[in-house]
Symmetry: C2
Subunit: 195 residues, 2 copies
DNA sequence: GCTAGTTTCCTAGCACCGCTAGGCTAGGCT
DNA sequence: AGCCTAGCCTAGCGGTGCTAGGAAACTAGC
């Protein structure tokens, strides 16, 4: 019995090491640099071992990294969200969101750039994918969903355009402030953009 | 002389066929489906011929497709922009922008998902890359640039999240309306979101 | 201790990728 | 006629994701 537990532990630990190696390498050099051979090398085994953990191959590994990313992103946004809605809360959540995207570009890419067959529409969506969206909705005081979708889109676009150098890097704070001003709830401190 | 012109014409026409084949195949099946072998087959030549037109290989072909995309996207946005700022103009420009992204997903991807070493910051940016941005700025009546960057980010994010199925497809019109309401200029018809 | 069966892992190979070196052929020039 | 150049193709490099099949090690029953 202890024998079997030990075996299970070894398998689990290897599972973790695959995901950690994939995430770190991808965040450092992009998903193209994550190859099955390098990944196998990183964990001290050969390619086929990866397929015993992830039969779907590289795509399934990316999906697993993405799912963990959703949990982490939601956790960070939740932590940044203060007691109630308002511009400060929106800015804090936005900054947390963008920070995550900047720190883990490849995880973020796996989360959002791939079609990801699992449903995302608000009905059948898995709870871990839903938590981040709910936090964004709470930040801007939206209960319909449309405003949250637009707010989220703006965050998503901001992170991507910043990463690919399409917007002025030094104006990041102004953009976050502008975004918060545009999406502050009507009854908040103010709805007009600054300046 | 006519001989040389004819030769030049043949080269130019082949150049065009490469770009057209790449764009069509990519928009239909994604850039991963655009391989140098298939591309060479499509134009009736072999692989090395591609490299006489585009020494940088596939990356340079994608860049060329992207540059043409910038021109077309700017043209469409400009055409959609009415006489002056206002919610209707914003909605029209936003719809034109999103339509382009939906019709040419791979062109759009080449335009914005790649790092694209040519500068994008407002100083040394090539005019064809600048035209679309200027149109967006004009639509929302912004002259600073920050609001335009955020507006553009929202459009960018909307298109991408829509394509990857992260937002409810049937709410597209509501999102565009919401976006226009949030970014309508202060002196416009109204600055409050609808509903 | 010995054998049979299972689990675990690696070797070797497939088809495909982007890309390139080198040779063949056809045409213009001297 | 002979050479030179441009244009194109054949063949091949190293790398990719992925998989079939066999070797080795470990477990269980006697």
């Amino acid at each position: 019995m202890a024998e079997r537990t030990s075996r299970r532990q070894r398998v689990d630990e290897r599972h973790r090491r695959i995901l950690d190696a994939a995430r770190e390498r991808a965040d450092a050099d992009g998903w193209a640099a994550v190859t099955t051979r390098r990944l196998a090398d990183a964990i001290g085994y050969t390619q086929p071992v990866l397929y015993s953990h992830f039969p779907g191959g590289k795509a399934e590994i990316m999906l697993a990294v993405a799912l963990e990313g959703f949990v982490e992103l939601a956790r960070r946004c939740r932590a940044a969200l203060g007691p109630g809605p308002g511009r400060a809360a929106i800015e804090a959540v936005a900054a947390a969101y963008l920070d995550f995207g900047r720190e883990h570009p490849a995880v973020y890419e796996a989360m959002f750039s791939e079609p990801l067959d699992t449903p995302f529409g608000q009905d059948g969506t898995r709870p871990e994918l839903r938590a981040g969206f709910d936090t964004l909705a709470e930040a801007i005081g939206d209960d319909d969903g449309t405003a949250t979708e637009v707010f989220w889109s703006a965050l998503h676009g901001l992170g991507l355009l910043e990463r690919t150098g399409r917007v002025r890097p030094e104006h990041r704070a102004e953009r976050v402030a502008e975004l918060a001003a545009r999406f502050a709830p009507p009854s908040g401190t103010g709805t007009r953009p600054p300046d």
